[in-house]
């Protein structure tokens, strides 16, 4: 097979690097020479980007077949490039939904496993990896193997959340969940500050399968951390419309916004509008699942809003041990640093993910977009210093700028992950720009 042409490759954050990308329906054949697999590029940072311009990546999106679906158990086997969007389009009308979904449907099964993604139901359902029963993989040695929680479990839990560094995921088998109707019963309310926000999340957790909130991160002082708290559950057939909720038409962001369009004033206006758009203090009722789970999917290529220089997302979890005040201190720091963001999403995390590098652990997760500008590195460094001090960590699938020494301080599990890489890929054939940036040189063995 001829080598694909050199071109510029980017993910959702638009940060671009030169490399070569192969596209093929046959992952088994095409993964033989690739350094890394990537899916729909919905990760924000450099985890799906080439380590060097010579690097050959395998884009999985043409490998999108459902290989088996059992209508009684919900067990689905799909090729790694199968998109969640397609799964839902086909199976939601039949009463099935993914056990865990991120905030966009345009992700692949391979990407969902490699990032061990979490959703609004993390406090109840855990990460996606918890619902996977088996993977078919090509290892760096060329061998093709199956693994799962009961078979080659070490390989499996290193791959879940392993950012593609333990092998190419070829097929994924996982369990879908039954839903009573395709509609969501949602309650949302305006919350005046961060303390009431966290209290609201914690109080809703036991009874509501899905919770999350959006916070205004430009207003400081008494209104610090005010926002909209949302909680939801699948609607019962009796309260839901009989029809299937139409997927809204997708509008496309036709061009890149000029970089001046994004300025403190526009961000401030957006945040204030978003808060007051929720006019009633409290709203409840049955809503479409598309708007509930995927509000951002309504605008195709919305990432162009940040201009050609692109953006990154900063997502961290502040652990329970850090106490209630940690989120307030985080937001205070953010306001002080001027890292204003259109969207700042807050969510409570449940049990720690079982993947060696899974992101979640019990506590509060905060995610915000940061445009890539001259000041962004400094903001990320300062936020990281804070997160390290509080015992938290960042989410690799969103990261572009974290320094390796900072990451090592957040990740006591790094040595174990490195040992797994040495076992499954002793020659380090598999790598990404992110792994070269963050994971080399290998961390010292823990004593």
């Amino acid at each position: 097979m001829p080598l694909p042409a050199l071109r510029s490759i980017s993910a959702w954050g638009l940060f671009a690097l030169p490399g070569r990308e192969r596209h093929s329906e046959s992952l088994e054949a095409a993964s033989a020479t690739a350094e890394l697999s990537r899916g729909l590029g919905r990760s924000y940072g450099d985890s799906s980007l080439p380590a060097t311009p010579e690097s050959e990546l395998l884009c999985t999106t043409l490998a999108d077949r459902i290989l088996a679906f059992d209508d009684s158990s919900g067990l689905l086997t799909g090729e790694a490039g199968l998109a969640l969007h397609e799964i839902h389009r086909l199976l939601m009308p039949r009463g099935w939904f993914a056990p865990v979904t991120p905030g966009t449907q345009f992700v692949t099964l391979g990407g969902m496993v490699a990032s061990d993604i979490h959703g609004k139901n993390h406090h109840k359902a855990g990460c996606f990896g918890d619902h996977v029963t088996s993977l078919r993989m090509r290892l760096a040695s060329g061998e093709v193997v199956n693994c799962g929680p009961d078979e080659r479990a070490e390989l499996f839990w290193a791959t879940v959340g392993g950012m593609g560094l333990t092998g190419h995921i070829l097929e994924v088998t996982f369990r879908m969940v039954r839903i009573p109707s395709p509609w969501i019963y949602q309650e949302s309310r305006r919350v005046p500050d961060i303390e009431s926000f966290i209290a609201g999340l914690k109080e809703s957790g036991p009874d509501w399968p899905m919770t999350m909130g959006w916070i205004d991160c430009v207003s400081g002082g008494a209104s610090l951390g005010r926002g909209i708290l949302m909680r939801g559950r699948w609607a019962e057939p009796a309260e839901a419309p009989a029809r299937f909720p139409a997927m809204p038409p997708r509008l496309t962001m036709p061009f890149f916004f000029p970089s001046w369009a994004l300025n403190p004033l526009s961000v401030r206006a957006f945040n204030i509008l978003y808060y007051w758009k929720h006019l009633a203090r409290e709203k409840r009722g049955v809503v479409s699942p598309w708007g509930f789970f995927y509000p951002l999917d309504a605008i195709h290529l919305w990432n162009r809003m940040y201009g050609r220089r692109g953006f990154t997302q900063y997502q961290c979890v502040l652990p329970e041990e850090a106490g209630q005040g940690a989120a307030r201190r985080f937001l205070e720091l953010l306001v002080k640093l001027g890292g204003a963001s259109f969207l700042c999403v807050i969510k409570d995390c449940g049990a720690e993910g079982r993947g060696l590098l899974s992101f979640p652990k019990p506590g509060i997760s905060i995610a915000l977009d940061l445009p890539l500008r001259d000041w962004t590195q400094r903001v990320v460094n300062e936020l990281n210093a804070f997160v390290i001090a509080e015992g938290g960590r960042i989410y690799l699938t969103k990261d572009t700028l974290t320094l390796p020494e900072d990451f090592a301080k957040m990740e006591p599990r790094l040595a174990a992950f490195d040992a797994a890489r040495r076992q499954f890929d002793p020659e380090r054939r598999l790598r990404s720009h992110q792994s070269e940036r963050l994971l080399e040189p290998a961390p010292k063995e823990m004593p």
């Binding site: 001829p2 694909p4 042409a5 093929s24 329906e25 043409l62 077949r65 459902i66 290989l67």
Partner: protein
């Protein structure tokens, strides 16, 4: 309806099979790798209640065609649509460097494809009519530098398909010539997409509609009709200068 597709394992053929599956068609998947076809059949069975079967058929091995036709119409089974998306592709540079490969491409895309169509024509007419839908290419519309040899195979194919339609439509054999522009599939994955590049799903919906209507000539995406209108009228001295 029953639709057979040669090339259903990948690209536009895969997309078309899905669109037809969702319409409820019974499907017959033709291709050279039966194991791959079975995996595609599994995918289609999740999407449809219609029956999905597979038959081995290699465009490079025309000796097998009679058996393929027999299997398709076995026991007097009726076939409404036969679609052929399968073809070889190579850039001009690759084919100029390898005359044997060039001959293989020309043979499969032109002579063998036509032989299969001829055999299907007889069988379809014998059952009282049906639709034959074959993928040619805009590359056959004008002699262009980057696709001279591949384009030659498609030019010949388009020519044949047009004549076939003129001659047999009245007798019930509908012939559809699909001319894709640039579509993002594995075939074109190594190439830089030009403006107006299309998605296989959208093309598949267009082709599916054409099957319903019996449209004899289809540019897909449609904008390529106008792009090619311009290109067909460019003077030779311009064609010599430009690189597309």
């Amino acid at each position: 309806m029953k639709t057979a597709i040669l090339g259903a394992s990948k690209g536009m053929g895969r997309a078309l099979a899905r669109v037809r599956a969702e319409r409820g068609d019974d499907l017959v998947l033709l291709g050279r790798d039966v194991e791959e076809l079975e995996r595609s059949a599994a995918d289609l069975r999740v999407r449809s209640r219609g029956a999905v079967t597979v038959i081995a058929c290699d465009l490079d091995a025309p000796d097998g065609f009679p058996a393929v036709i027999e299997a398709l119409f076995a026991g007097g089974a009726r076939l409404d649509n036969l679609v052929i998306t399968a073809a070889h592709f190579g850039t001009q540079d690759e084919l100029e460097a390898d005359p044997v490969r060039a001959r293989r491409l020309l043979t499969a895309n032109l002579a063998n494809t036509i032989e299969l169509c001829e055999r299907a024509r007889v069988a379809l007419l014998a059952q009282g009519g049906g639709t034959l839908c074959v993928f040619s290419s805009v590359a056959g519309d004008r002699g262009r530098k980057p696709v001279g040899l591949y384009g030659a195979s498609k030019a010949g194919l388009s020519h044949y398909l047009e004549a076939l339609d003129h001659k047999w439509r009245a007798a019930g054999l509908i012939t559809i010539c699909v001319k894709p522009g640039f579509v993002k599939t594995g075939m074109t994955a190594g190439l830089k997409p030009p403006p107006f590049a299309g998605e296989p799903d959208a093309v598949a919906r267009q082709v599916s509609d054409a099957l319903e209507r019996g449209t004899p000539l289809l540019y897909a995406p449609s904008i390529w009709r106008w792009v090619m209108l311009v290109i067909r009228h460019l003077p030779r001295f311009v064609m010599r200068r430009i690189s597309f």
